[in-house]
């Protein structure tokens, strides 16, 4: 099993996930991790609410990871996506790609993120710091463009 996929409410532990993926192996040369965090530059955001489609979320992320493993010759891939209420500064998503050489690891992690953004069934709603009703975050054209490039 080369792909570890989890959809969970609780936070994840970057170091533990990397260690689990590398344990007992000496054939991995490069590990790239991507952590996506809840960001609030202007101080206007109280939290994001992450809604997801249970079942399909796991299935879709697994499919993306398997495709990345095959396409870039990854030795292992991990993707963990949180749901529920997430405050600024907290983790939302973790992707890890391991490969013999660095470019495959970079490309694998980048590919998984680009497809996860546009294909994994998650939706973000803002909770505003002033208590007013927040908006659903809009999908970005840039994300579709990023996916098209592969």
């Amino acid at each position: 099993m080369t792909a570890t996929v989890r959809v969970q409410r609780e936070d994840f532990d970057l170091a533990a996930e990397v260690a689990a993926l590398c344990r007992g192996r000496t054939d991995i040369g490069a590990v790239v991790t991507f952590s996506g965090l809840c960001r609030d530059e202007a101080g206007a955001l109280a939290a994001l609410e992450l809604e997801h489609y249970p079942g399909m979320a796991e299935t879709e992320i697994s499919r993306i990871c398997r495709e990345a493993v095959a396409r870039f010759g990854l030795q292992a891939a991990t993707a963990i996506h949180r749901f529920g209420r997430i405050a600024p500064g907290e983790n939302i998503v973790l992707v890890i790609a391991a490969a013999p050489h660095r470019q495959a690891a970079f490309d694998g992690a980048n590919f998984i993120m680009d497809f996860l953004k546009t294909s994994a069934p998650f939706w973000k709603k803002e909770h505003r710091a002033d208590g007013s009703a927040g908006e659903w975050v809009s999908a970005k054209d840039a994300d579709d463009a990023a996916r098209q490039q592969w």
Partner: protein, 86 residues
């Protein structure tokens, strides 16, 4: 008539006012596009949810599909806006 489970997410769910329901579908509802047209005939909450039909994404049995996809054999059909995870 066939019976299908429908699930809604994000602002599609909010506008319709529920996250899931089970519907009996007339025999002339063949594709996802047919189903969207049928749902829009059921009330203004559905009209509001599917007002901009082209942005609505659909999944049959938890797999992404286009609007032209036949729904025959579907156990679960989902409608939702473009995804914003990651």
């Amino acid at each position: 008539m066939s019976t299908v489970n429908l699930v809604y997410f994000s602002w599609v769910r909010e506008r319709i006012g529920k996250g899931e329901e089970t519907l009996e579908l007339p025999a002339d509802v063949v594709t996802i596009a047919d189903l969207l047209a049928h749902l829009k005939s059921l009330g203004e909450e559905y009209e509001a949810a599917f007002e901009h039909e082209r942005v609505i994404r659909a999944a049959i049995n938890q797999e992404h599909v286009e609007h032209g996809e036949p729904i025959a054999g579907a156990r679960e059909i989902a409608f939702f806006p473009p995804m914003t995870g990651g």
